[in-house]
Assembly symmetry: C2
Homo-oligomer: 385 residues x 2
């Protein structure tokens, strides 16, 4: 079976469990998952029988079950010509599909039942195959190799933005595709964030672990043109999209010495990471792991600055894959049990007012008997001076 | 009146025309338009009375009509407490709002009538105010200043990607926010594209003017790691997002001499641009201008490679603003009449097999008696050798 065939079987198991006859997949991330490339088109997955790819663009694709269409209304006609019955119950990507498109597909298929298929396909995607894990491993190695160069990119007196631009350049030269794929329409960021000093305290509208004021009210997150000064910490948190599958990774740096509290907080973050790495095995419940991380922060007297100060994120990890914010979430109200093949970014962080952010982030794969770290690099605070 | 007050009045005129009592604005681009910054929240615009901003994040906003909420269900309660009636007819952003969110807001407000407000707010946004034009002018100047440096960034033997990375770096150093805001979930690209040689012939799934194979099937558009060789043309088409308002601009370059046909096609593209610049004034109909551009390409015997070869785009221009693909479109079936304040990117291009893409793109504002070019820079093919 091809890799995409395996993905489609995983989707079908979810469809069967929910009683769906068919799934019409139309979003770029899900088409990449199920077809192996982004197309402008519609993948029709019946619960049994061959999936059909109805394509608008690009020209030049072939395949026994690939049919060119100008508009989705042709799909029903073509299915009728081929003697394929219309589905009784149809899944659509309800959590991402714009409402007017949902209505359009509903009018085309007129199913007796129509279901939001987003949770089903997200569950299928959350457990990676060996081939997907290999793509994420590859992203992780390239990601770490770029971070290894960060100390060489630093120049005294530069701003957070200037350092970010040099890291972005190294990322791109190493093959990072650049786009930071996020699920949902509300989160947006460029390639990631570099937070220096008290800019890490600035609250952002987005659901990232930390904020930053950003450069402009149209994109209020990340670097803010802060000059890097002695005594500041600097947190680099960029997406590693080298293979269509992303890794997420954060390292902390300092300009000269930081306060004792900052080093202590960083050490606590490393200990929380160790606790999570130990706890993160099949069957473990996400929320319970998160709660234990909060307890550790509290015992260290650092709960007031855990995952932010003025605004605190209520999670410490999140699934990654084709998109950077996949399920499961290691956070409040997340009762998901971990399974082998799940890939999560774990990011315990603290924000110390007057210093900046410290802490760590690595991407891990859950294995049958524990987990595997996919972003391997020195984890201490590196002094850039 | 504040700038955002003017924007809200423009939205209200569209609401009145459609008979809507209220508009709940939730997308980042529209919140930036109506609030002046991106927030995680909901702007409730009644057709009369003060708009109310219900915010989840960031912390720290204030204002007489700003109220913090944890979830949108609180909006109806708060309105009831303040004696604000629920709307009879409500507009939501139906062309971008995910279906499940649409249902959620519908359940909260239970309006007798519910309408897709996307066309209304897009129409409001398509005619820019003087302050918005000034932001676009500013983006255009910075955009052109970066392009002026392109010949210095070229090194013999480099790839399209390597040159792209150096241009991206200059863009970022000049203050480009990086993100390329597009409307809709189907189009995605990094900062723009650099197309070298026959990579310009490669069809892409996306609805951009030209394609390119890209670096990976998860993002099949743009540079493809093509080594720049003598006789190739090179087309640089990056987004200029310096001010929250974007400019779009393309210039063509060559490595040494190109074929006679390539220069002739470039000259035809400049003539098409001149024709459009002359025709693009208040009252002109978009489709008619596009059709005249096709006629000019046909008269030059270049219709087979106008706006692509294997796959041809059926437009020659598009609105730009907060997003890069705003109405109106200068293309087939676009009966919109131009109005003063509309801003359009005009991009006549040809793809010459064996050479690459040639042509031009500039961003223009429609004025009361003609138009103004906002991206001013040498327009001939620049030889990088």
């Amino acid at each position: 079976m091809t890799e995409q065939g395996i993905h489609i079987e995983k989707i079908r198991r979810e469809m069967q469990a929910a009683g769906a006859d068919a799934f019409l997949v139309t979003s770029n991330a899900n088409l990449y998952y199920a077809v192996g490339q982004v197309v402008a088109g519609y993948l029709y997955i019946p619960v049994e029988g061959a999936p059909m790819l109805f394509v608008r663009r690009p020209v030049g694709l072939d395949g026994e079950h690939t049919v060119y269409v100008r508009k989705p209304e042709q799909i029903a006609e073509i299915m009728a010509e081929r003697g394929i019955p219309l589905p009784n119950s149809l899944m659509l990507e309800g959590d991402s599909l714009p409402h007017t498109e949902w209505l359009r597909y509903e009018a085309i298929f007129r199913p007796a039942g129509i279901m939001n298929g987003t949770p089903a396909i997200q569950r299928a995607r959350s457990v990676k195959t060996e081939a997907e894990l290999e793509l994420i491993r590859c992203s992780g190695k390239l990601h770490a190799a770029v971070y290894r160069k960060i100390p060489e990119l630093y120049r005294a007196g530069m701003t957070d933005l200037e350092l970010s631009v040099e890291i972005e350049r190294e990322m791109r030269r190493a093959g990072n595709l650049g786009i930071f794929r996020v699920f949902g329409q509300s989160m947006e960021i460029f390639m990631g964030s570099v937070l220096a000093g008290d800019n890490a305290c600035e609250a952002s509208p987005y659901d990232f672990a930390l904020g930053g004021r950003g450069l402009h009210p149209s994109l209020p997150v990340g670097a803010s043109n802060t000059i890097l000064r002695r005594g500041m910490s600097l947190m680099v948190d960029m997406g590693g999209n080298f293979t269509g599958y992303m890794t997420d990774m954060t390292r902390a740096y300092s300009v000269g010495k930081l306060t004792e509290k900052a080093y202590r907080a960083h050490q606590t973050a490393l200990e929380i990471q160790d606790m999570i790495a130990h706890a993160m095995r099949p069957g473990a419940v996400c929320e319970e792991i998160y709660n234990r991380s909060v307890e550790m922060a509290t015992r260290s007297g650092l709960d007031g600055c855990y995952m932010g100060v003025r605004q605190q994120a209520r999670f410490v990890g999140h699934g990654v894959g084709i998109e950077v914010n996949e399920p499961p979430v290691l956070g409040v109200r997340s009762r998901t049990g971990l399974e082998p093949g799940m890939v999560l970014a774990i990011e315990p962080k603290f924000v110390i007012e007057g210093t900046g952010a410290v802490g760590i982030e690595n991407t891990f794969a859950v294995t049958t008997n524990g987990n595997e770290k996919l972003t391997v690099l020195e984890e201490g605070i590196i002094d850039l001076e």
